[in-house]
């Protein structure tokens, strides 16, 4: 401890900015915790001291504050020049996620719940995430080394997903959307979360090497000029493989995410709008084919077409008979009951027997809408926008093509994923079950997001070292 204090004194540039930006998130956590504990004593709230013990309200908040402070100290000692804005932004989002888990846990209806210590469980994942974030920064000393192992990363990603693929093929007839879960002793992981990072590394490395060829484009196809097959081949193969895998595993949200990432990264690397247009056309054809073949996709579109405002007999029959429609309709009711300022944390009814199912992971956006209101949702989207802005800023500042594409691609994950799940919750596009970054309950998603933050911070650190010299 004395040594740490000495180090801080010796270096005149402690990460004060990061610490300053962490103060308001800490206040937010404390205020929200007070509100939860007060609501606990309120007879109208669904929470009370028997289903949410006071200690379970205190642990998540103070544990997270301690974790963020320690991370700030570690960064100040080893990575003083890394970006100082990302940690407070990600920290506040995970704080809100932990609080929401604390609040939702006791209300989750049987057979899954009630879980009084859901917040503490989420806290464990966030703390593990912070540790992995720091570890990523230590391990990735030379980011460019990642580019050399691009095929290894791609293979590793698919290897992790292999058990789910086998399970998906075995249960393909049942046609129900499934979650791929890799059961490892002690904890189960969703390998697809790691697969998306592996795929980004592959795309970034491949596009970084071939972007000149891609940008020139000399395979004429009508009036369009496409890149030669030799350069396009591995890229198209990787894309087809991942789309196929997600169709087999029935993770449509991830298929959509990977396609979106492919689009944005080819556009970033080549700067040619024609690729985007061609890819979008192919996407429309693919959706049309999938709509014809797969019944669960038809169901998702049917739910989106439900008229909720003028409730008719048709809406009622969809609500009663179609699996998944209840989730959306209840979610919309939750959002509307929240209004502009929200019911207040702990005072709404986001979870429970007749309310939104799986609210803690897929539908957490509606829970925030109900308890923090439209104002709270706008603030949350604002935080996401700032994370995305910061990520692209790090991409712009780096000097090497691979680093630029990697940072931009990883940032796009946040952007596209948030859009897909938030729009799905609001019945804007068909709902597909992927987690809302940092806010949804779920370990793998939190870990993957913190790996991404770690890579971004390391790239920003390398940029700063390159710009100003070492230390």
């Amino acid at each position: 401890m004395a040594q740490i204090a000495q180090t801080i004194q010796r270096s005149p540039h402690y990460r004060w900015k990061e610490l300053g930006l962490l103060i308001i998130p800490f206040l937010v956590l404390l205020v929200a915790m007070t509100q939860l504990l007060l609501a606990n004593t309120d007879p109208r709230s669904s929470l009370n001291t028997s289903n949410l013990p006071t200690i379970q309200g205190l642990i998540p908040v103070f544990g997270l504050i301690a974790g963020l402070l320690v991370t700030n100290v570690v960064f100040s000692i080893f990575f003083r020049k890394a970006d100082q804005v990302l940690l407070p932004l990600a920290g506040l989002l995970s704080g809100l996620g932990v609080l929401m888990s604390t609040r939702l846990g006791p209300d989750i209806s049987p057979p899954d719940g009630p879980i009084p210590d859901l917040g503490s469980k989420q806290l464990e994942w966030v703390l593990l995430g912070l540790i992995i974030c720091i570890a990523t920064m230590f391990i990735l000393r030379n980011i460019s080394a990642l580019a050399r192992f691009k095929y290894t990363f791609a293979a590793l990603g698919f290897l992790l997903l292999l058990p789910s693929v086998i399970k998906g093929i075995l249960t393909f007839k049942s046609n129900a959307p499934a979650r791929d879960v890799l059961a490892i002793p002690f904890f189960s992981l969703q390998p697809s979360e790691l697969l998306k990072i592996c795929i980004i590394i592959f795309f970034a490395a491949y596009l970084g090497e071939n972007r000149d060829v891609l940008a020139q484009g000399y395979l004429p196809l009508g009036r369009l000029r496409l890149p030669p097959l030799r350069q396009l081949g591995p890229l198209a193969l990787m894309l087809t493989l991942s789309l196929l895998v997600f169709l087999v595993v029935r993770e449509l949200g991830l298929a959509l995410l990977i396609y979106g990432l492919f689009l944005s990264m080819t556009y970033l690397a080549s700067g040619k709008l024609s690729y985007v247009l061609v890819s979008l056309a192919i996407f429309a054809v693919l959706v049309f084919i999938a709509y014809g073949i797969l019944s669960y996709i038809r169901v998702r579109f049917l739910i989106v077409s439900t008229n909720v405002v003028d409730w008719s007999a048709a809406s009622e029959s969809i609500y009663q008979n179609v699996l998944g429609a209840g989730q959306i309709v209840q979610g919309l009711i939750a959002l509307s009951s929240g209004g502009i300022l929200g019911a207040g944390l702990g005072l709404g009814h986001p979870a429970g027997r007749f309310f939104v199912p799986v609210v803690q992971s897929d539908m957490v956006f509606t829970a925030f809408g109900e308890e923090l209101g439209l104002a709270g949702l706008f603030a949350i989207i604002g935080i996401y926008l700032l994370i995305i802005y910061r990520g692209f800023r790090i991409a712009v500042e780096s000097t090497d093509a691979f680093n630029q594409l990697l940072a931009a691609g990883l940032t796009s994950i946040f952007a596209i994923q948030t859009f897909i799940i938030a729009a799905g919750n609001m019945k804007f596009i068909p709902l597909t079950g992927i987690p809302l970054p940092f806010l949804s309950y779920g370990g793998s998603s939190i870990l993957a997001n913190y790996i991404i933050i770690g890579i971004l911070l390391r790239i920003s650190y390398n940029n700063a070292v390159e710009r100003d010299g070492t230390t």
Binding site: V31, T34, V85, A147, G373, A379, G382
Partner: protein, 151 residues
């Protein structure tokens, strides 16, 4: 009466939470704009102060390649060496990777770092996996070609 007190207290906390969230957004935006101004100012400095060619690499030992010893390559504030078409210095040699080495000049010192090559980059025979400071006169080995850093 206590119920009413709790009510008003809950209302205050609810509003405070929203206000704090927006205060945080404002604080971050202010911090970001300050950053932007600083980096804009420093890049202006850099572009006015530094001439385009600020150093040279002189081939000392050409190894298996067919470059003549004594060839001089210009170095800018940021130079990439490799076989690929994106590099500032392109060397068509089988032992050089598409993107091999990066050399840059900051705060009065040169820095050399390997860009993920197969055969490596060395400064005075020390592998440059991380940025290594170099001075004029130092030997920079790119693959099997040795250069001397010169002003």
């Amino acid at each position: 009466m206590p119920a009413l007190q709790i009510d008003s207290f809950l209302l205050i906390l609810r509003l405070l939470l929203i206000v704090l969230l927006y205060l945080f957004l404002m604080q971050v935006v202010i911090a970001i704009t300050r950053d932007l101004r600083k980096s804009a100012a420093s890049s202006e400095d850099a572009s006015t102060r530094l001439p385009t060619v600020i150093g040279h690499l002189v081939v000392v030992d050409s190894g298996p390649s067919n470059i003549l010893p004594g060839t001089r390559f210009d170095l800018a504030a940021q130079t990439n060496i490799g076989r690929g078409p994106t590099n500032t210095i392109q060397i068509p040699d089988n032992f050089i990777s598409a993107e091999h080495t990066r050399i840059w000049f900051r705060n009065g010192s040169w820095y050399v770092q390997d860009a993920g090559s197969v055969n490596g980059t060395y400064v005075n025979n020390k592998p440059a996996v991380e940025p290594i400071p170099a001075r004029p006169g130092d030997i920079v080995r790119v693959g099997y070609i040795q250069f001397k850093l010169a002003q």
